[in-house]
Assembly symmetry: C2
Homo-oligomer: 337 residues x 2
């Protein structure tokens, strides 16, 4: 199987690497801090297990890119762990900012231990992500390590800029599709693009190939987010684990909803309430589809996935990792079908 490389090689090695970074926190006084980190990572506490760990998509893409660029994925593990820890830091803070009570079907950190400890545990994970990144110099020169760190720093900054926009949108009546694309470019696509670019750098790809890998990642990230937005309204509950039209219920300003707000007067009118009955949610979904939002969302998702595929071709990926990358994309992009 093309994806055996992930489940049999990358994932177990990644979990070992992630745990070794978190083990930087030791000593009796800090047991509870470590427990909170292990809980969030899906390793400890009620409901711990694979289903609570997330798919580790970003670090897997990084390792695949390293291998597909002709390098040894094992030496890229500190970067893969750094990316995943950073992603998890952002989830801890996002959950506080969004007041989300659950993540992956378990109470969020702030729900269990309060906002102050949750903010600080996120900050600890943020530090550990950098600790992991800088340990790349076990395998690479100080110059390469520093270049990767710089890329990483700028991505974290892009992430917080994207998050700034996302929080701002909640209080705004009008948001354009362009502004929305700028937000998800920072909040979602930047980290996926950087994961794959770092992978390529650590696989010793030349500058042109690095750029192609990055374009692949950025477009994949955009397609992925737009698909997520599509599924938040028209997804199959049995496949996604989310009930249909959740995003309407929660008044999330996602891609199709912003399209509807800009293009349909009747959608805009009905949207202007604090909460919706089940009937109203269905009505809003119908109006949205009639406005062309469903078609447009699907078309744009496909546009970005096609750009991702084109960029991947330009990157000339090699070996079993190349096959795995293709298979992974096919799987990711068909999760609703």
């Amino acid at each position: 199987m093309a994806l055996d490389i992930l489940s049999k090689k990358y994932l177990p090695a990644l979990e070992v690497e992630l745990r070794s970074v978190i083990n930087e926190i030791n000593g009796t006084p800090y047991q509870q801090l470590k427990y909170m980190l292990n809980y969030h990572m899906g390793w400890e506490g009620k409901g711990a297990g694979l289903q609570s760990q997330g798919k580790r998509i970003r670090p897997l893409l990084l390792l695949l890119a390293t291998n597909a660029a002709g390098g040894d994925w094992k030496s890229a593990l500190p970067a893969a762990a750094g990316i995943e820890l950073l992603h998890n830091f952002s989830l801890i803070h996002d959950d506080i900012e969004d007041k989300s009570p659950t993540r992956r079907n378990r109470p969020t950190l702030w729900q269990n231990w309060g906002v102050p400890q949750a903010i600080n545990t996120g900050d600890a994970l943020f530090s550990l992500a950098f600790v992991s990144m800088s340990s790349l110099d076990k395998y690479y020169s100080a110059e390469i390590t520093l270049n990767v760190i710089r890329l990483f720093e700028n991505t974290v900054l892009a992430l917080t800029k994207g998050q700034f926009l996302d929080i701002s949108f909640e209080d705004r009546d009008e948001v354009s599709i362009d502004e929305y694309m700028q937000m998800i470019s920072g909040k979602t696509a930047a980290l996926i693009g950087t994961s794959i670019e770092i992978g390529a750098i650590l696989g010793n790809a030349d500058a042109e190939t690095q750029g192609a890998f990055r374009d692949f990642g950025t477009n994949l990230g955009l397609a992925f987010q737009i698909q997520d937005d599509y599924l938040g309204i028209w997804g199959d509950e049995n496949l996604t684990g989310k009930s249909t039209a959740t995003d309407i219920q929660e008044k999330k300003k996602t891609y199709p909803i912003i399209y509807g707000l800009n293009e349909s007067k009747s959608f805009r009118k009905l949207w202007n309430k604090d909460s919706f009955s089940e009937n109203e949610v269905e009505q809003l979904a119908r109006i949205l589809e009639a406005s062309g939002a469903r078609e447009k969302t699907r078309a744009d998702e496909e546009k970005y996935i096609n750009e991702a595929r084109t960029a991947l071709t330009r990157a000339h990926p090699m070996g079993e990792a190349a096959v795995a990358l293709q298979t992974l994309i096919d799987q990711l992009m068909n999760r609703s079908q």
Copy 2:
């Protein structure tokens, strides 16, 4: 004057450096994010000005250490800015965690713009601190830059471990002086120690001298925190800007209070209430003094300041920066007298 070097040279150059890092955030959509950062730094908004900027102690100590070790302070500016930005990141998050409505006589970030934006603005500052640190390679080799970044990362981790303990102490009945010292070692002394150690590294000090500078900084940090705790109960309101015994009123577990809780039954008994009348605050302060807490706190402050002075002698500081360092310590350690 010995401190002219700070006000005439270091401080203006530092402010320029700090602003140039924050200017990494540009573009119309992010104006408000930048404004929040500028507000927190004391540069914009109501009440902006020197009195709202903090004393920039940590970066000044860093620059002094670079100079006193025989290096050029100007090349250490990216590190000095990184340290100050990190310190300010921790203040933004601390204020949310402590629910503090004001800082330096102005509303805190979360008070003005809400918790979600404040958490995220802190995260942006965290990223910018690293962006600044890694730009050291304009003046130093990748190896030295990477060493400094690693020291910085471990310090951020120590900071979050200290903060974890501090938050935990609030809910605990018993805290020992040893545990308290461990907490302030992480939360306060680590960053001051690292500031001065990085300064020494960037001044090209040898390993032994770096260690002496670090010991100087760590002990200075401990003395400084214990002095702060002393002033929180027995400070002269006119000099400190805090009303006497504020820390008792706010039920803060500071050094003298932990001493009292461990050593005095009558203090422990009276402390066991949710809030205190003015009379009770005065009574508690008297009992605390009678228990020996005041004397013990002053003695320990002096112990650490003496260790700091001894370490500084071992560091053999040079030139005008050496004189300024001595003068600065004398000033810092006499702010109540």
